[in-house]
Symmetry: C2
């Protein structure tokens, strides 16, 4: 790829606007061209550190005038190469836009800048008695989570970030600033631009403010672990729990490979068996009732040793271990990286999908622990690879492709929460058919010069 012919002009205009907050230093550029994925990095030509929506707008206007690509950047924790500057251009670093602008306990909502991290938000909220439930493994930025339609362990009860954003401020590809909605809990006033921008991965504009729904910290919280002789029993327990309307807050599956990794990395002593991690929210009496009912269901499917606790310390240790699952997987092999992938299927197909996938893995030379937000039918594989070995990349690619085609054949999706980025573009037509053309028409209408994070989400068409 050759450098954009007007890049120097753009750089000098950006320097004029931002002074030292516009950098072409190679270390800075390199840091902004990579995420936590297996994808090979590609640095932008320039990095701008923006401090306000108006500055983002000014930067975008300069880039638009020269048709230079713009890529938003914050935590850099995405898993499909979302921040890689595949066509060069300008990375807008939003980490300095990390203020919590407003919290309304009466309305159970708040407004934050895109660089705010999820843990930062919850620490800030603690004294208000409120919390924000969306929790991908990494300490991601709220802007990045909105852009990739993130979720996490609480989605089974609280929904994904899709259900928890009321409105956003967005800088359009021509630099204009819009609000996608208001603070009302619901609206029937026109096309749902909030939802259009959630998950658009920076390809339709840059999110510069997010209004989020919050929840009261439950009066009582209890966590539980329970081990099963086989994975099918675990999944059947999940299905019956959800069907019974028990409002579990979290219900996570770890296969025996992942349990082993977690035991080593997080110093737990779980039986090396398929295991569910659970959490219950409510009044003290109701939390107890939920735990008892789920325990009964699990026993029906052969589980032993249902352990539950209301101790905050034990709970925290458990969930930190769950969030560190990918790092635990990485630690299974010296010098290894993780190729993380995820699919989501109707829960009735989850057992089949997981069992067939584990058969694939049993026949492969790669290790890949499995964890899942199984209440939603969503699960992950972490291929433990060394990127420098082409045969390992090839094998991960082969297993990933089989996994995705399996999920699609079960009326599922090629990604439940990681997003498309670079890695899953090639599956978009397979999953969506002609609907991809509708997405492409929307992209063309809103970003006719294709400057917003080009090369992500939409596959190149055969005709082009």
């Amino acid at each position: 790829m050759t450098r954009h012919p007007e890049m120097d002009q753009v750089t000098s205009k950006l320097t004029e606007l931002l002074g030292g907050r516009c950098s072409t230093a190679s270390a800075v550029r390199e840091q902004h061209g990579k995420d936590e994925s297996w994808h090979f990095p590609k640095a932008p030509d320039v990095v701008c550190f923006a401090k306000s929506t108006e500055e983002v707008s000014s930067i975008v206007k300069i880039c638009a005038a020269h048709k230079v690509p713009v890529i938003p950047f914050a935590a850099g924790t995405s898993l499909e190469g979302h921040v890689n500057a595949v066509s060069g251009g300008v990375s807008i670093d939003l980490n300095e836009m990390n203020e919590i602008l407003r919290v309304s306990p009466e309305d159970l909502d708040c407004t934050v800048q895109p660089g705010v991290r999820r843990k930062q938000l919850n620490e800030f909220l603690r004294d208000t008695g409120l919390f924000f439930p969306i929790d991908p493994g990494a300490d991601a930025s709220i802007g990045g989570m909105a852009s990739t339609r993130a979720s996490g362990t609480n989605a089974v009860r609280y929904g994904t970030i899709r259900e928890n954003i009321l409105s956003m401020k967005v800088v359009l590809p021509d630099g204009r600033i819009i609000s996608t909605g208001h603070r009302a809990k619901k609206s029937a006033a026109g096309y749902d631009l909030t939802k259009l921008y959630i998950g658009s991965e920076g390809t339709l504009g840059i999110i510069t403010e997010i209004t989020l729904r919050l929840y009261g910290i439950p009066e009582a919280i209890s966590a539980a672990t329970v081990s099963f002789p086989d994975i099918e029993g675990a999944i059947q327990s999940v299905i019956l729990t959800i069907q019974s309307g028990i409002p579990v807050a979290r219900i996570e599956l770890l296969d025996e490979v992942q349990v082993d990794a977690v035991n080593r990395y997080s110093n737990l002593e779980l039986p090396v068996q398929p295991t569910l991690f659970l959490e219950f929210h409510g009044s003290p009496a109701y939390v107890k009732e939920q735990a008892e009912r789920v325990s009964e269901i699990c026993s029906e499917f052969g589980a032993e040793g249902f352990k539950w606790t209301t101790q905050a310390e034990e709970r925290t240790k458990l969930w930190q271990a769950r969030h560190d699952a990918a790092y635990a997987a990485m630690a299974l092999r010296n010098g290894a990286q993780i190729w993380a992938t995820d699919v989501c299927v109707p829960i009735s197909r989850l057992a089949d999908c997981i069992l067939e996938t584990k058969k694939d893995l049993a026949d492969s030379f790669l290790i890949a622990p499995l964890v899942g937000h199984v209440g939603d039918g969503n699960f992950h594989l972490s291929f433990v690879i060394k990127k420098e070995n082409p045969e390992e990349l090839e094998e991960a690619e082969r297993l990933n492709s089989r996994l995705i085609k399996r999920a699609l054949s079960m009326d599922g999706t090629c990604t439940g929460e990681h997003g498309v980025g670079l890695g899953k573009k090639k599956y978009m037509y397979l999953e969506h058919g002609d609907a991809v053309d509708v997405m492409a028409a929307v992209k063309q209408a809103l970003d006719p010069d294709n400057i917003m994070n080009p090369g992500k989400i939409l596959p190149e068409r055969a005709a082009e």
Copy 2:
């Protein structure tokens, strides 16, 4: 408006396709040009009765070739003139597409055709132990509810229809058929076309299949009523209930005017005071606990006579009365019609918004009972008018305009659940600013000839 020059050609092609299921009889046309709103009807030129997605596709292809407008029709219960054929054209009646195609109790989902009514679906589901919670007042069609982003009394617990559609089949403006998604509970695979089509009011395509989330019928259900000396006490009780995380399934406000109307129409004997109707879902113990906690909260704000029941018969009577609120309003005055409007504001502003609105009403000669899905900050006025009196229309228009501007000044929306249709187009720029241009760009990209339900949602631009 003159008749489309190629209307006769289109009619003869449609007759060839559908035989007797293509009608130009004036009684049929007139029935398809009106809804339950105050808007003056406008009949289409032709009505087609479609039996399948493929037929809808064929009809749309014929219309597209001649650039003739297409308007979907089912129950005809919309409240903002959504089905009025303002530019003539072809009404596609979807009432014969009323099959429930699939129910999966394991996945808690089902797929239905757009002509299925909400009551029909719940009657069908009863034996499965499942239910579909979205309940606008009328017995609306699921297709219409999806098109207008409908909600109802259960939204505070279960979300609106927006949160309860997994995927749809849509006929595009060129006749191609797409799926907007799959049956996975969540997906991060590209732009959210499902949400783009929800609430698009037929302006981007025609919805021909809907996959819905379902819920287990709760083990125990209790309903309650409680009266307050003033409306502010009622609203403060709602705010504290929501903040406390008590998962009320329904929490509805009726002002004293509406209570009086409901008493007469539905033969109840409620004190003529601001009143909350509530419902609690859960286990028997949890339902009791919720009712007790809410009763305590209401007492703090001056309520007396909190009555609750688990009797199915009493509950049904109560909620039928609530759903009939608009008809009860209509019955207040012989030969009157209803101009129904709704707004939604952050709940912290709800008391102010309602009190200022009631001040307006006190100074007006029009009667307008007030009901609200107050857990979401959403409330309705039913102006009791006679359409033939221009001064009444003018006064309703004036009050409605003041209501909407008040809601917008409080960071709310001009409609929480009725949709834009014809009636709220003029407020779209006021509410959304430049974001309307983004909506218009999407419309232009997907329906360049503007044949899909033209004249709805998007305001005419000054420049055009």
